[in-house]
Structure formats: structure tokens, C-alpha cells
């Protein structure tokens, strides 16, 4: 097989995968008797055509950045954390508890408090699968899937039996006190010129950007990140260098879970302002697609998160304005994961066909 140039591997492989996913989606749209161009137009207009659309796109992108980073950190330690969904839900529980039961004077104080709670709860939910992987060799993929379902059940129990205010029918907590409500981009001086309507995107976006930078710093500028990456590439070599597999597995998973948990300051604290039953809306899973598409690099995650934010918001617009169901976005998400994560050898082979002849000409 032709080895691809580095830039092609980094840039072309995800782009071709996206293209393949797009082509198949277009075929699906055609097959159900709709127009792919029309669909694309609706998505672009709805998600990117207005400040209002951008407000939603960025809101979703914020969540995806956290979950994408969560998957990324674990991936670098060669751990596949599918548990982002459950960890994010637990993070939501942590955020809700902190917002409901601590009388915060101002959101600037509530936010760090909620961040700590969300991250801690998310990390705690990743801790058991991490420990079982590191000490008992139970596959982290299976255990994190199981923990997603246990998390879902736990949240239902907490909402229905514990946190639901008396007299309320739907399973949700009470609204958080106004002092914990985060300013949206519309409410931020300066940005309100750009975003002239009330939108869900909120200050958490800046926390997410900060998280991107911190994860980059962690992975490529700290000893811990160095150890995580080395361990992920070669466990025997890590042992040679005196890196403890147990320690790295635990820490990488705790950070991963913490990042997933952090997401809930966006959706729970920033948007719904109470904890709902399915608060994450699958963002934990989208993190897998975002990380794969973003080649496990924070910059890539940032870009892929915006792309999926667009897809999510655009897909919702499709559901509103066309007869194409909103579920199209799940299809695209699945296809992107399939091509970037499982059929990547095939994509590389396809690309290799283009690169091989040119190589021989040079030589």
C-alpha cells in the first residue's frame, strides 16, 4: 500500500470520508424522493445563514467540543471511551445539584462551581470502567456502554423519585435560580451586535475553546500528555521508559470523563436551566464522530465540532422546512464514523491510487 504524505493523511482522509458520507446521504435523500441540493440549501440557510442559526450551530458545537475532546484524550491512550454519553449525563446531575442546592450570588461564581461538579461527576462515572480496564482487563468499550445505560437509569430515578418538585408531572428538576443562569452570546456586551436575538449559545463556548487549548497543552506540552501518547502508541515501550500503564489508563479516562461531564454546563446550566431526562441529546456519541473526523487533535476537534453543530442545526431545520426527517443527521454521523474509524484503510487505499502514479513519475 502506498504510504500517503502526512498532509494527505491528516486533511484528505477526513475530507474524503466526509465526501463519501455526503454522497451516500445524497443518494439516500434521492431515494426517498427529495432533492439533495434543496436539502443542502435548507441546512446552510438554517444553520449558517443568520445570526440566529449560528447561535444554535455554536451551541451544539460547544457541547461537541467537550465530548470530542473527551474521546480524543482517551484515544491517545489507545482507549475507546464510548461512555461519553453517560459521563455527560452524570455531569449534568452534578451541575444540577450544585446549581439547585448552593445559593450562588452570581453566575461568575456558579460557573466554576458547576464546572468542578460536572467534571467530577463525569470523571467518577469513568473511574469504574477505567479501573476495571487497568486492573482486571475488562474491555473499556463494553463497560462504558453498560455505564451509559446505568447512567440513563440513574438519571431517570433521580429525576422521577428524588429531584422532581412536588406537583410537577414531567421528569425534570426545578428551574435553577436565576443567579446561576449563564449569559448567552446575545447578552454579552459587544457580541450582542452580532447576535441580535435570544440564542442558546452561551459563555460556555469560551470555556470549550479554553478546553481545546488546555487539551492541546496537556497532550503536547506536559509530561502527563507525553506519557499518555507514548503509552497509547506502544505499551512495551512505555514500560521501558518507566511509564505506569495503570496510572496512565486511570488518568486518561478520568480526564476523558471529566471533559464529557463538563459539557453539561452548556446544555443543562446554559440552555435548559434545569436537568431534563435526555439532556445530552446524544452529544456524547457525536463526540466519537467529532474526534475521528478531527483526527484526535484539538484543532481538528474544534473544526469537526462546528461541522457537526452545523449538521445538527441544519438537520433540525430540515425537519422543520422539508419532508426530510431530522434523523438524516444521525445517518451522516454514523457514516462519518464508519468511514473515518472503520473503513479508514479503504479510504487510504482509494487515496493511494491517486498518489501512487505521481510518486513513480517523480522517481
Amino acid at each position: 500500500m502506498t504510504r500517503l504524505p502526512r498532509w494527505a493523511d491528516l486533511v484528505l482522509v477526513p475530507l474524503i470520508s466526509l465526501l463519501l458520507a455526503g454522497i451516500i446521504s445524497a443518494l439516500v435523500i434521492l431515494a426517498i424522493g427529495q432533492s439533495p441540493m434543496e436539502a443542502l440549501r435548507t441546512m446552510v440557510t438554517g444553520a449558517l445563514g443568520s445570526a440566529y442559526g449560528w447561535g444554535y450551530t455554536l451551541y451544539y458545537a460547544t457541547s461537541f467540543m467537550f465530548t470530542g475532546l473527551a474521546v480524543t484524550v482517551a484515544f491517545h491512550a489507545s482507549l475507546f471511551n464510548i461512555g461519553g454519553e453517560g459521563q455527560a449525563q452524570l455531569g449534568g446531575l452534578g451541575v444540577a445539584l450544585v446549581c439547585l442546592f448552593i445559593p450562588w450570588p452570581h453566575w461568575t461564581l456558579a460557573l466554576p462551581g458547576a464546572m468542578i461538579a460536572g467534571a467530577l461527576f463525569g470523571a467518577a462515572w469513568a473511574a469504574i470502567p477505567a479501573y476495571l480496564q487497568a486492573k482486571r482487563g475488562s474491555h473499556v468499550v463494553i463497560t462504558t456502554i453498560m455505564f451509559n445505560y446505568i447512567a440513563a437509569a440513574l438519571i431517570v430515578y433521580m429525576l422521577v423519585n428524588v429531584l422532581r418538585p412536588a406537583g410537577q408531572m414531567d421528569p425534570a428538576t426545578a428551574r435553577f435560580p436565576a443567579a446561576t443562569n449563564l449569559p448567552t452570546l446575545h447578552e454579552i456586551p459587544g457580541l450582542s451586535i452580532l447576535f441580535d436575538k435570544q440564542i442558546p449559545a452561551n459563555v460556555t463556548l469560551f470555556v470549550a475553546l479554553l478546553a481545546c487549548w488546555l487539551v492541546w497543552l496537556l497532550l503536547w506540552r506536559t509530561r502527563l500528555g507525553y506519557e499518555i501518547r507514548a503509552f497509547g502508541r506502544s505499551e512495551p515501550a512505555a514500560l521501558y521508559a518507566g511509564i505506569s500503564p495503570f496510572r496512565v489508563t486511570m488518568i486518561a479516562m478520568l480526564i476523558s470523563g471529566g471533559l464529557a461531564g463538563l459539557m453539561s454546563i452548556n446544555n443543562v446550566m446554559g440552555e435548559s436551566e434545569r436537568l431534563l431526562q435526555n439532556s445530552t441529546e446524544g452529544a456524547g456519541f457525536i463526540g466519537i464522530a467529532v474526534a475521528l473526523m478531527g483526527r484526535n487533535h484539538p484543532i481538528g476537534v474544534f473544526l469537526a465540532a462546528i461541522l457537526f453543530g452545523f449538521l445538527f442545526q441544519g438537520g433540525a431545520e430540515l425537519g422543520l422546512w422539508t419532508s426530510i426527517p431530522i434523523e438524516l443527521r444521525t445517518v451522516v454521523q454514523g457514516l462519518v464514523i464508519l468511514f473515518t474509524g472503520a473503513l479508514d484503510h479503504m479510504v487510504r487505499m482509494l487515496l493511494g491510487l491517486f498518489f501512487a502514479p505521481r510518486r513513480t513519475q517523480v522517481a
Binding site: F80, S138, I142, M146, Y149, A152, G334, H345
Partner: protein, 322 residues
């Protein structure tokens, strides 16, 4: 809990356990051959939609069943291509296909029927109708065993009995036939199969196809047996429960029957919180019952209740080495 209630719960246990059992056996074939499959959920969903749609269109549940198997098979083959031919990551492939299935089933159902992503309600010959086993009526007078036979054993759709038959059949195929021997070998040590001059690739594709068929049956039963038509995300994690049951069963057919019956019983109980309270005298939260299969699986995975050792070559693409 009185006897009549118990019979009721056991009756619904049978029905709820059937899709779990079929999916669990489906996973058994794949994983025994060394191909991890967390895409059982997606294949079931796809089969449920195909069955629901085609049964509604043709009015025949059997044509619907064939369509369901075909739908599931397509996904099984994609998984095979990704994990056997292109040696991709089997876990990621399974996850990806679950998402694709989750979305595309609604897309197709919506475009066909415009009923909010559902297929039209099935009835009559478009469903798996109860089969009255012989003497059910006659024996119902016999105390305890009579009602048990009439309600719990008799009166289910054909697929319930097919699923039950699949258990001894799978056991027999696995442990008494040449195919089973090779299948188990390729999941444990593909090099042993390769050096014996048998094609690893062909064996694994065969296993993946059987997985597709069984998931097809499971999905068809969801749409035309358990329910009356396909609805969005109707499998509701059953593919993962089946996976849990498979681990719980340590990849063995008879244990799979027991595990899925147990998990089906939890599901049946979760539908009757009143009964639990009446029996135990205190409230057991429904979510706790929902989570029980997963908690049990984690405990098994952690090796606290005997060690669950998966097929040794599971998840690893086979590359010929020196």
C-alpha cells in the same frame, strides 16, 4: 403476588426474552468467530423497519420477515467488509452502523408512510399470530401446570418457538458439527485454522451472515410480534442488553437462554411496578430494574462471578505472520 399475576409476568417474560435471545445467539456466532459486534442493535432496528414496512405493504408477515432478514444482512455484510476485508476497527464499525440504522430506518419509514417515522399498524396475517399448542385448552384445568402450559408455553408467535429451537440447534452446530469446531477455532486462534488449510476469511464471513439472519429474526419479532409495527428506536437498547447477556452467558447457547430469560424477566417486572411493591412490600424503582442487566454484566466483566473469557482472537483482524 398471586398465581395469575405470576403467570402473566412469565408470559410476558417469554415474549420480551425472545428478541433478546435471537440477538444474543446472533452475537454468539459472530463473536465466536472472532468478530466483535456491537452493531446488534442497529441490525435489529433495520430488520424491524423492513419487516414492519413490507408486512404493511404486502399484508404478509412472512414476506416481511424475509425483508427484515435482508435488511439486517446488508448491515452485517458492511460490518464484515469493514472488519474482515479491510481489517478496520470492529468496535467503531459496530458503533457507526448503529447510528446509521437509527437514522435511516426513520428516513425510510417516513418516506414510505408519512406517519412520523412509524410504519402503519399491523394486524391479522401481517403479524406473527399466537400459535395454540396442542392440548393447551384441554390441560388448562390441571392445577398449576395447566395454566402454565396454556399461558406461558403456548400461545406465542412462531418466532418465539423458532428462537427457542435455535438454542439446541446452536449448541448442536457449535459443539457437534465440523462447522462449529472450525468456528470456535477461528475465534480462538485463527492461525490454527489457517495452518490447517481452512480459509479464515470465508469462515468469518459465514459467521457474520448467520449473525445477520438471526438479528433479522429478532427485529422482525420486534415489529410484527412484540409490537404492531415499527417505531423510531423501537429496539431501545435491546441489542446492547443482548450483548450483555452474551457476556453473562460466557458465549454459550444454553446459558444465553437463561441469561435472556432472566433479563426478559427484569423487563417484564419493570412493566409491573405494582406487583413488585405488592410482593416485596417496598418500592423498587423501575430504573433499578432497567439497569439490573447492565450492572450484572459489569460485575461479570469485572470477574467477580467467575471469569468471562471472550474468544481469544476477538476483535483482532487476522494477519498472516511467520
Amino acid at each position: 403476588m398471586d398465581f395469575a399475576t405470576l403467570i402473566q409476568i412469565l408470559d410476558s417474560t417469554m415474549r420480551l426474552a425472545t428478541p433478546l435471545l435471537l440477538a444474543c445467539l446472533a452475537g454468539l456466532y459472530s463473536e465466536r468467530s472472532g468478530i466483535f459486534d456491537i452493531g446488534l442493535e442497529g441490525k435489529m432496528l433495520m430488520a424491524a423497519m423492513c419487516t414492519g414496512a413490507v408486512a404493511a405493504l404486502t399484508g404478509s408477515v412472512w414476506i416481511g420477515l424475509l425483508a427484515g432478514i435482508a435488511g439486517s444482512m446488508i448491515f452485517a455484510l458492511i460490518h464484515g467488509v469493514a472488519s474482515i476485508t479491510f481489517r478496520g476497527n470492529q468496535l467503531i464499525s459496530g458503533v457507526a452502523l448503529n447510528f446509521v440504522a437509527s437514522g435511516i430506518t426513520v428516513l425510510i419509514a417516513q418516506s414510505l408512510f408519512r406517519q412520523g417515522g412509524r410504519t402503519p399498524p399491523l394486524s391479522g396475517p401481517a403479524r406473527f399470530n399466537p400459535i395454540e399448542l396442542p392440548f393447551a385448552e384441554a390441560l388448562s384445568g390441571v392445577p398449576i401446570l395447566g395454566p402454565f402450559y396454556a399461558e406461558v408455553i403456548s400461545g406465542h408467535g412462531a418466532l418465539v418457538y423458532i428462537a427457542l429451537l435455535c438454542v439446541p440447534l446452536t449448541w448442536w452446530a457449535l459443539f457437534r458439527t465440523r462447522f462449529g469446531l472450525r468456528l470456535r477455532a477461528v475465534g480462538e486462534n485463527p492461525a490454527s485454522v489457517d495452518t490447517a488449510g481452512i480459509s479464515v476469511v470465508r469462515l468469518r464471513y459465514t459467521a457474520v451472515i448467520i449473525t445477520g439472519v438471526l438479528c433479522g429474526l429478532a427485529g422482525a419479532y420486534m415489529a410484527a410480534g412484540l409490537q404492531t409495527g415499527f417505531g423510531k428506536e423501537m429496539t431501545a437498547g435491546r441489542g446492547y442488553i443482548a450483548l450483555a447477556a452474551l457476556i453473562f452467558a460466557k458465549w454459550r447457547p444454553w446459558y444465553a437462554l437463561m441469561a435472556t430469560l432472566l433479563f426478559g424477566f427484569f423487563q417484564a417486572l419493570a412493566l409491573r411496578p405494582d406487583v413488585i411493591k405488592g410482593t416485596l412490600g417496598f418500592d423498587v424503582p423501575v430504573p433499578a430494574l432497567d439497569a439490573l442487566p447492565y450492572i450484572l454484566t459489569v460485575i461479570v466483566l469485572a470477574g467477580f462471578v467467575g471469569r468471562a473469557i471472550p474468544p481469544r482472537a476477538g476483535g483482532e483482524p487476522y494477519v498472516k505472520e511467520r
